[in-house]
């Protein structure tokens, strides 16, 4: 939120793209922990790039069993460390990032508990006294590759870090539509 906004140049699917708008369900009023990290889904981004310049190494069609189609998109966003405050933000460790465990088997997906990224990465978490296996759904090895490519192209002067044209609003929340089950016979 401090360096990323509309117009930020990014690595997108193997080429250069841009942040163009807040993403779907962009929400900045979710509760944050003592390190300032949101504890559930929060700010999201809408990005744009030229598909014809992208590579299947960083853009692949995916299908999740019992969920549906998805897309694996390789994204890298440079964060310029301009002051001590930003330096503190980029040094947040996995132990300091929390997220919420949701039960997708129940309507309304109720929360079952909170875990840290460090716990998730260990391969096992404890939820309500039970030990549960964990696995990632995004690729850390690809993320590191993208970070390295981005670093090299910045150093080579091929990728220019841009200042956003407009920062994102910081006080937004969602007004979701109420689901109405229609179709009943009178």
């Amino acid at each position: 939120m401090k360096t990323i906004g509309i117009g930020t140049r990014i690595f997108l699917g193997g080429t250069q793209g841009f942040v163009v708008w807040p993403g779907t369900q962009f929400n900045t009023s979710k509760p944050k922990n003592e390190h300032g990290v949101p504890m559930s889904n929060s700010a999201t981004l809408a990005v744009m790039g030229n598909l014809k310049e992208m590579s299947s190494e960083f853009l692949q069609a995916a299908y999740y069993e019992k969920y549906g189609v998805s897309l694996f998109v390789g994204i890298g966003i440079p964060i310029p460390v301009l002051n001590a405050d930003i330096a503190k933000c980029v040094s947040i460790r996995n132990e300091q990032i929390q997220t919420t465990v949701l039960d997708y088997g129940v309507e309304g997906t109720p929360a079952l508990g909170r875990v840290t990224y460090a716990e998730l990465r260990s391969g096992e978490i404890e939820v309500q006294g039970k030990k549960i296996r964990t696995a990632p759904v995004s690729s850390l090895s690809k993320a590191r590759k993208i970070a390295e490519i981005l670093k090299q192209s910045i150093l080579a002067g091929e990728f220019e870090i841009s200042k956003p044209v407009q920062m994102f609003p910081t006080n937004t929340s969602l007004k979701s539509l109420k689901e109405i089950k229609g179709g009943d016979e009178k």
Partner: protein, 137 residues
């Protein structure tokens, strides 16, 4: 002593023959059943870990083949398209045998065919559909 994993296929009419008993009794092979599918009147399949001396294993396999049971080493049955794999790690959640794991340094997917028991859970779990397992005919 040697330990090897095989996929055995039985002809439909062989359901009443105690092949695994003979492997133990006649060939002194220690067997561990990793997976079994036996249906009356259909081709049955069995994933076995066989442990024994080289000679005994060879003779045991020959005995099975004489009785129209096909034996193929397990590792020939599994293919994984590692070029397209992005190491997302989704498959590691369902691999209870521990054959699919992310190496903790580079976070790249490692596949150990020796541990695989051909449970096939990784096939639908992979969002990129990169696992091909030829277990049934």
């Amino acid at each position: 002593m040697q330990k090897k994993r095989y996929v055995l296929k039985f002809p439909p009419q062989s359901g009443d023959q105690p092949f695994s008993y003979h492997l133990v009794k006649d060939f002194d092979i220690r067997i561990n059943i990793l997976r079994a599918e036996v249906w009356p009147g259909k081709t049955g399949s069995l994933v076995l870990e066989l442990e024994g001396t080289t000679t005994n294993l060879k003779n045991g396999i020959a005995y099975l083949e004489e009785n129209q049971v096909s034996c193929e080493p397990l590792n020939k049955k599994i293919t994984w398209d590692h070029v397209r794999c992005i190491s997302c790690g989704n498959c590691t959640a369902v691999c209870f045998a521990g054959a699919l794991q992310l190496d903790p340094g580079k976070w790249e997917l490692q596949f150990d065919p020796e541990k695989c028991i051909v449970c096939e859970l990784c096939v639908p779990a992979c969002p990129l559909n990169l696992f091909k397992i030829d277990f049934r005919e």
